[in-house]
């Protein structure tokens, strides 16, 4: 029985282009208990991790999805004829970090915290769907408020916002002075 469930879940993850959440799997496999499902998922993940497979299952944005392994990066890029994926600019990354830690935020708040007008940067982040508009603030002018998206989580391989670098990690890197050239 449990092997079958495992195979079912594997297929579900396979066809999903976005991370497949436990919630969704539970809805689809409603005849199975949550424990069973969780165990099956764990088994699949371990199978992929231990067997010498080219792909793995990673957890991102609260779901599961197939991914290649980093050691095969250059081969995949050959197939896709891609030199290197474009990284985010420093300004984009900084703006994104600002939103991630302080969301929900308005453009004025983002700009104030960075000390730099962030209109343009925010626009590009919106286009990349790394941030989204989630409403308007109930303050004069009713400015738009922004939040990070699930795509943001997937982009950085984070499972949820609580996976963002912690205070400790941040103070550690600050002590190392690594970020100051």
């Amino acid at each position: 029985m449990s092997t079958r469930l495992k195979d079912v879940i594997e297929s579900l993850i396979f066809v999903s282009l976005e991370p497949l959440t436990l919630e969704k799997i539970k809805n689809i496999c409603s005849e199975f208990a949550e424990m069973e499902i969780k165990e099956a998922i764990q088994e699949i993940i371990e199978n992929y991790a231990s067997n010498q497979r080219g792909i793995q299952i990673i957890q991102a944005a609260g779901g599961y999805l197939f991914s290649t392994k980093s050691e095969h990066d250059q081969w995949v890029r050959r197939l896709l004829r891609m030199e290197q994926k474009n990284k985010l600019s420093r300004a984009a990354l900084e703006t994104l970090a600002t939103v991630a830690y302080h969301q929900p935020m308005t453009l004025a708040e983002i700009s104030a915290l960075r000390g730099v007008d962030s209109t343009y940067t925010l626009k590009t982040l919106l286009q990349k769907k790394l941030v989204k508009i989630t409403g308007r603030k109930k303050s004069p002018g009713r400015p738009l408020i922004y939040r990070t998206t699930d795509r943001f989580l997937t982009y950085f391989g984070l499972n949820s916002l609580s996976d963002l670098p912690s205070e400790e990690e941040i103070s550690k890197i600050l002590d190392e002075e690594k970020i100051f050239e």
Binding site: L17, L65, L80, E94, Y101, L113, G115, V116, I173, F180
Partner: protein
């Protein structure tokens, strides 16, 4: 001397005034909670002086912080009547801001590491998503393409339509509405199929005429999915409502 040389950095490398300020504080090994405002302001302004011209669009923000620094200094110089414990250090607002910004900067660096790692992983999401129905690579067809197909159809019709029955009159207006309603319901109309089902040459002619009118009015669009495939008529997106 050596120190002075180290400072040969352009304003452009900084993400903004706070970035520059943090850089100076670090370089001078200053305790961020006890910033000597006068000397840091001097350093800061030296940087701005390096620029021959201040571009207000971009460097205006640098000036804003410069003004803040000078303001803080002036506040500190003002004699106070009482110096209680609770009295706020005029630098506090700036320091809090700098600390927060510093955190963001550190977090950015950590996120960059994650980005680097993640870039080596490829997911099925990374591939371009399949185009949706509306985004098929369609080529808009010309009037001649339409006329050609129409003529072939008419020839076919002529052969099978020997009986000449006088029927109803077809009004352009009614037909046009019929076409649009059909499109609203069915998303698209197969040109060939549609004319195959017309009752008479007369009706087909009116229909064809209507179609041309609708294309001209940019209400519908006639497209071909690939060369030599059937022509389809779509309602233009903006006319759909």
């Amino acid at each position: 001397m050596e120190e002075a040389r180290e400072y040969q950095v352009n304003l452009e490398v900084f993400q903004g005034p706070l970035d520059l300020l943090l850089f100076l504080i670090r370089k001078k090994k200053i305790d961020i909670h006890d910033i000597p405002i006068a000397s840091i302001t001097r350093e800061y302004l030296d940087y701005l002086d390096r620029k021959e011209k201040i571009n207000l669009e971009r460097e205006g923000e640098f000036l804003l912080i410069a003004a803040l620094l000078i303001y803080i200094k002036s506040q500190m110089l003002l004699p106070r009547e009482t110096l209680t414990e609770e009295e706020e250090d005029p630098r506090k607002v700036l320091v809090d801001h700098l600390l927060e910004y510093q955190k963001i900067k550190a977090a950015s660096a950590l996120l960059r590491e994650k980005e680097d790692k993640q870039m080596m992983l490829w997911q099925r999401t990374a591939l371009p998503s399949l185009p949706s129905k509306d985004e098929l690579e369609l080529t808009e067809v010309s009037l001649f393409d339409l006329a050609e197909v129409f003529l072939t159809l008419m020839k076919k019709k002529e052969q099978e339509n020997i009986r000449f029955i006088h029927g109803k009159d077809y009004s352009l207006e009614v037909k046009m509405k019929e076409l649009i309603d059909f499109l609203k319901e069915n998303r698209y109309l197969d040109f060939q199929e549609y004319f195959d089902h017309q009752e008479s040459i007369e009706e087909a002619l009116v229909s064809f005429f209507c179609l041309l009118e609708l294309i001209k009015a940019r209400i519908v669009i006639a497209v071909q999915e690939t060369l030599f495939r059937s022509i389809k008529v779509w309602l233009r997106q903006e006319a759909r409502s």
